[in-house]
Symmetry: C2
């Protein structure tokens, strides 16, 4: 159901010819109102793609009538000409739909440093607009895939309203958002300020805690659009939870489809003096290549967890650290604990718990293992 | 020539049976004086192995008469009992040589979290002491290898004095020193304060700028011992340069022998507002797994360099960044520059230059590519 699960939205996904292999590469999501409220969260990378720079401007107005997304090219590091391409894309969407370009968000994904083939993209906008449908959510989700093996959608139902969404992302998954494009829609009657609050709260503990490969993208964009078409003003807590649930569902799908990964690693840091400490330690563990290799080899190598914790500035004493792998406390008090042979790592999900014994705070970070397939996929991406 | 190139030193390397495969695993380096001056630099990891905790104490006195090193076990995360093992090892060396245990430094390398087989190590100390020789430097260098494919030694000659050294390290190579054990010796007549100054200056721009895999070890130790046996007080600048040259030589050997690597990546950051900025940017590039994969695939994917720079807090403007790969400026002004097809990446050394266009400072960081062999070697290390 994707972005068209909520009333008031139409979508389309088509092949415009941006991708040389002829796969779908252009998606359009249109908000038919009555509201056009919107909020957005973008990459914290200081090298931002042209569509990010454009859409940040659009979102400042709090109104989005349409989102146009392309795969097959990131339009990042393309200079003023690349920004002009984004602007022209928004203008084309506005012209075709009879909207204002200042309310058209743009998102792109693909290789950095190449210009988009505008001679294909602009006619594609017309094709996509002609294909708009309230059943077009799946096709839109398919058209934004890059190295994703499956398209990703999620839906949460409220009391008379709905939140739905689509996501793409498979590599360059890291904090400050992953290489992800996400569009969420709702027919709840919510203004842009409330959307912003709900979206920031949701991404902080979902997409922002996915750290598949430690690499932060130039293009990350997460948008939340409200049509108000249900004519229901939702309970605030219930709405926040629905947005969080859809984000969490999509974030899990990103981790499970990460490039070349054979394991999903759930890193829970407990006993931290602060949530920031817990996140810092979780990220350090998530990014430790040696540990990621060990998990791939189903080796409960807790020493690599401790050496990763030791590089952080979090509050802890080395001789009070405890580490469990899949429920077995292989490290207690900073030294060998339960028998590591008890750890069963055959399944895709591997759970690492790091207890800092320094407080009551906690956080969960999701990562993937490091595999020969990851190396293979990423050593030939642009050639 | 290794640690016995300088007069006044003896060394030995033997197989004590710590490694189950019977390879050499115990090294002893003895300073016969007349001076016993010493300085040390240790890992900045907060989870420190027992021998690091011990040797830090010893070095506070500025006197080291002997260094005992073992491979086959890191003696890290082994609790008070592990510290006791280190203490007993130092006491044994002191007893056999007739020294004070407080002047015996200890270093260990191998798997974290397992106790050392003291029933083999302590008799091994006697065997090593009996084998001490002024020609024993090579054997000592061989005995400290773990996954190293070759042993590593270096020598620099001064005006009547010599600096020599040995190193081991092949994985877990990252700042705050790598998983490295290094012993440097000199027969120059230098006191411990001057040794400390020379050693810190040298490691700051050599070992500290090796970032093979972003993983910081619990055991890193670099020691510099002076016997004064040449009876020559060296020119300070010449001595500093000799220590730096030996450290640089050994650091290059570490990079060239990094686990599973097929490329050595020399990352030079220029045009930085400060040296700290240059180092931060260099490290961010060095640790970007996607870029490391691209280098492995001989793909001049400069977009990944820019996305790595974008995650830092260094002073720069995205539209003024320039990147060269092997001398070809593939990115100019934050966008596509010279033809990427001109970049020849067939050889082992790959040179990346990142120009921040923000000042006059620079730094060089050395890294390796990410390969399937790295994954393979590190997914089965402890099993």
């Amino acid at each position: 159901m994707s972005v068209t699960a909520a009333k008031g939205f139409q979508a389309a996904g088509i092949a415009a010819g941006i991708k040389e292999n002829g796969n779908p590469d252009l998606a359009l999501v249109v908000n038919r109102g009555p509201r056009l409220a919107a909020a957005g969260v973008f990459t914290s990378n200081r090298v931002k793609a042209a569509p990010v720079l454009w859409s940040e401007q659009v979102l400042r107005g709090g109104q989005v009538s349409a989102v146009v997304l392309n795969s097959g090219g990131a339009n990042a590091c393309t200079g003023p000409a690349g920004f002009q391409d984004t602007h022209a894309t928004a203008e084309k969407v506005a012209e075709v739909l009879g909207h204002s370009a200042g309310e058209v968000a743009v998102a792109s994904t693909g290789l950095i440093g190449i210009r988009l083939p505008m001679d294909k993209l602009l006619p594609g906008v017309e094709t996509a607009a002609a294909a708009l449908s309230q059943h077009g959510g799946e096709k839109a989700a398919i058209a934004i895939k890059t190295t994703d093996t499956v398209h990703k959608t999620a839906v949460a139902e409220g009391d008379g309203w709905t939140v739905g969404g689509m996501a793409k992302g498979a590599g360059m998954l890291a904090p400050g958002l992953a290489t992800m494009l996400v569009v969420l829609t709702t027919d709840a009657d919510v203004d842009s300020a409330e959307l912003d609050t709900a979206l920031r709260a949701a991404t902080r503990t979902t997409f922002d805690r996915v750290d598949s490969d430690g690499c932060m993208s130039t293009n990350d964009t997460v948008l939340l659009l409200a049509s108000g078409a249900s004519e229901v003003v939702p309970d605030t807590a219930a709405f926040h939870e629905a947005v969080r649930a859809v984000c969490d569902d999509l974030a899990q799908q990103l981790i499970r489809d990460a490039e070349g990964a054979s394991k999903d690693i759930r890193i829970e840091v407990v006993g931290a003096a602060s949530e920031d400490d817990a996140v810092e330690v979780g990220r350090s563990i998530a990014r430790n290549n040696l540990l990621k290799c060990a998990v791939h080899g189903e080796d409960p190598n807790w020493g690599r967890v401790l050496s990763a914790i030791g590089t952080t500035s979090a509050a802890f004493e080395p001789d009070q650290l405890n580490v469990a792998i899949n429920g077995v406390w292989v490290c207690k008090g900073g030294q060998v604990g339960e028998d590591r042979d008890l750890v069963d790592m055959r399944y895709r999900e591997v759970r690492i718990t790091a207890d800092l014994a320094a407080g009551q705070e906690s956080a969960v970070i999701w990562a993937n293992d490091l595999t020969a397939d990851y190396v293979h996929e990423n050593s030939a991406y642009s050639s």
